[in-house]
Amino acid sequence: MNFNFDFVNRRKWWYALSLLVIIPGLIAMALHRPVLNFGIDFTGGNIIQVQFHQPVTSGQVRDVLDGLNLGKSSIQESGSNQFLIRTTELNEEQTNQVISTLQSKLGQLDLKRNEKVGGTIGRELTIRGVEAMVIAWILMIIYITIRFEFLSGLAAILALVHDVLVTIGFFALFRWEVDSTFIAAILTIIGYSINDTIVIFDRIRENLRLRKKETIEEVVNRSINQTLTRSINTVLMVIFALLALILLGGETTRTFALAMLIGTISGCYSSIFTASPLWIDFRHLSRERHRQAAVAKADTKAKTRKATSH
């Protein structure tokens, strides 16, 4: 298929659309404490998943837990007569107490999951995740600067910051729980987004070499149109895989797949509507600065010439 859409001349609209998606998420983050609905991987705490052999309601489970005075805990039904109990950090005796009390008051149960994560681990995880992200960005800018140019690197990184903000924003807005796989998802989104952007930049690089007469906007438009089929087909492919994972996979991968789905769609959008237009704007800005610098230089030269001629 041959497309001929105008992508770059309406770029103000695309930027506005991005902000329209990102800002509600940022507001949600500003209003909520904690900023995101962090799971026990980050906050520290215990998760106990039990399956009762007989009908039990979440109210009954709640009553038993309230009797134990464990502090804040949440109960979620995760199947028929199956419950996911999240508590603050408990020691081994307290955990055993919870299980034995549930068993003595509500009857026979199978312990499906019994997890404890220390608060320090969660902090380390977060810090390491952020560190990893920043280091990855720096390495990417360096790589793109070597293979393309610095402004391309900058535009590509901003596009992926966009994708990270969109993804985190959705999780902030809907208070979806964030677990340790979320970090992996964000880092993959970064990988995907940059991958997608580079395919377009690569085409721009190729087209710039071939045609000298067209304006930069025309070259970018043509490049995006030429790679559009690929962009759509590839994003559809990834969406198929992720939808399968969300609909059919277990709950352990759901957060991951959901984050990936949002990030992938955003990544595809940002490669076309954020990275390439930004690159054009950056180029214009830097040309403008160079031009002004040249004018200023010419001015001072003229002045000094004047001064010497007097």
Binding site: G118, I121, N195, D202, F240, A241, G250
Partner: protein, 428 residues
């Protein structure tokens, strides 16, 4: 002659495709079954324990080595196949036991501190568990009571000799100060009087045992190793085998459905090259699974997600190549020329885009932990394998396809006749 060549080409093509199919069908299942599965898929126990520094003793690498030995002994006593015990940082130990039928029991055994200490009446620790060489439960012939006999190592023997000699010479028999308290996990077991100096490193713990079995269990624990330093469980995850099996079954379905969707999509959109891409993907899958198996990597759910994603990248490589080929065809190039030019132009794109993703994966590997690392490994491995198959195998297969005249119809390559410049039509 052309017909003969065509038949030969078709035969070659059929043989290669059938071979790939046969290998795929024959090898995939055993390869998949041979993969080591992580706790989230198989069920099991993950414990992170931290050695605690006390005011008068900071945890040393020697302590950690001793702790690791002790834990290995304990896990061996549980009779678990292929336990993972590895150090993390300077004072942590990760223990993973996959496929344990009774995870809670295993945690209890691992978490037992069993800190054995001999203290004088002023509370000073004179000999500790790390000085211990052996512990045995016996029945005392005279009293018929269960006892534990202890044998210290060279250093412990000397310490024990010194302190008993000192106590025996300093205080009269019967003075409470002439006793040595034996503490297990800070609890006093027995507080016997020192009869005389004991130079041979032998000690007996008697009294306080209800029956022989209790003494035997304690002896096993001490023999398996009293811990050199106090430890704390800071993270634990136990996944019941049913939950693990459930998520395994679910992710299997998800993967199969995802792969079928991708295969059909490639077939519908790219037709003949789509079929080639599907065969390339089979080989890609085989390479990745074989390398994972060779590395003895443990497959976790995020790892599988990484694999699934790298399948996306593998397909992307093919898509980039095919879009270039189509473009070259529309520019009027012959099939062979279009394929070669398409690959050439696609290579830099695929290389640059994958290189940046690999950069992210490398950072993930070095800074991430556990499952995130697994994800990074499968992702980079997948990318490397996808680049290899897309550039070598897909090209090879496409050349074989072009060797069959019946397959020269451009519709099979997703290009309409009228899109091709008139001058170039008909010359393939």
């Amino acid at each position: 002659m052309a017909g003969g060549k065509g038949a030969g080409g078709f035969l070659k093509l059929a043989v290669v495709f059938l071979a790939i199919l046969a290998i795929g069908i024959g090898v995939f299942k055993p390869l998949i079954n041979a993969q080591r599965l992580g706790l989230d898929l198989k069920g099991g126990v993950h414990v992170l324990i931290q050695a605690q520094s006390t005011p008068d003793h900071a945890v040393t690498p020697d302590d950690m080595a001793a702790l690791e030995r002790v834990m290995r002994d304990r896990v061996d006593q549980l009779g678990i196949a292929e336990p993972v015990i590895q150090r993390e940082g300077s004072d942590r130990l990760i223990i993973e036991l996959a496929g344990v039928s009774n995870p809670e029991e295993a945690i209890k055994m691992i978490g037992k501190t069993a800190q054995l200490e001999f203290k004088t009446s002023d509370g000073q620790v004179v000999v500790s568990g790390k000085d211990l060489k052996d512990a045995k439960a016996i029945i005392d012939q005279q009293t018929r009571e269960p006892q534990i006999t202890l044998q210290f190592n060279a250093e412990g023997t000397k310490k024990f000799a010194d302190v008993t000699k000192k106590l025996a010479s300093s205080y009269p028999y019967g003075d409470p100060k002439r006793a040595i308290g034996i503490y297990l996990d800070q609890q006093l077991l027995t507080n016997p009087q020192v009869k005389e100096a004991i130079p041979n490193g032998q000690a007996i713990i008697s009294g306080g045992f209800a029956n022989f079995e209790e003494a035997a269990n304690l002896a096993a624990l001490l023999r398996g190793g009293a811990l050199p330093v106090p430890v704390q469980i800071i993270e634990r995850r136990t996944v019941g085998p049913t939950l693990g099996a459930d998520s395994l079954a679910k992710s299997k379905t998800a993967i199969i459905v995802g792969l079928i969707a991708i295969t059909l999509f490639m077939l519908l959109i790219y037709r003949l090259p789509g079929v080639v891409a599907d065969f390339s993907l089979i080989v890609y899958g085989l390479i990745v699974m074989a390398v994972l198996w060779g590395l003895k990597a443990t497959l976790t759910l995020p790892g599988i997600a990484g694999l699934l994603l790298s399948v996306g990248m593998a397909v992307d490589a093919n898509i980039i190549i095919y879009e270039h080929i189509k473009e070259e065809l529309r520019n009027g190039k012959t099939l062979r020329a279009a394929i070669d030019a398409g690959f050439k132009r696609a290579f830099t794109t695929i290389f640059d885009s994958n290189a940046t993703t690999v950069l992210a994966a490398i950072v993930l590997y070095f800074l991430g932990s556990g499952t995130v690392r697994g994800f990074a490994i499968t992702l980079s491995l997948g990318i490397a394998a996808s680049m290899f198959t897309a550039i070598t195998l897909t090209r090879f297969l496409l050349h074989l396809v072009v060797g069959v005249p019946a397959f020269h119809n451009l519709w099979l390559f997703g290009v309409k006749e009228e899109q091709i410049p008139a001058a170039a039509r008909g010359e393939i």
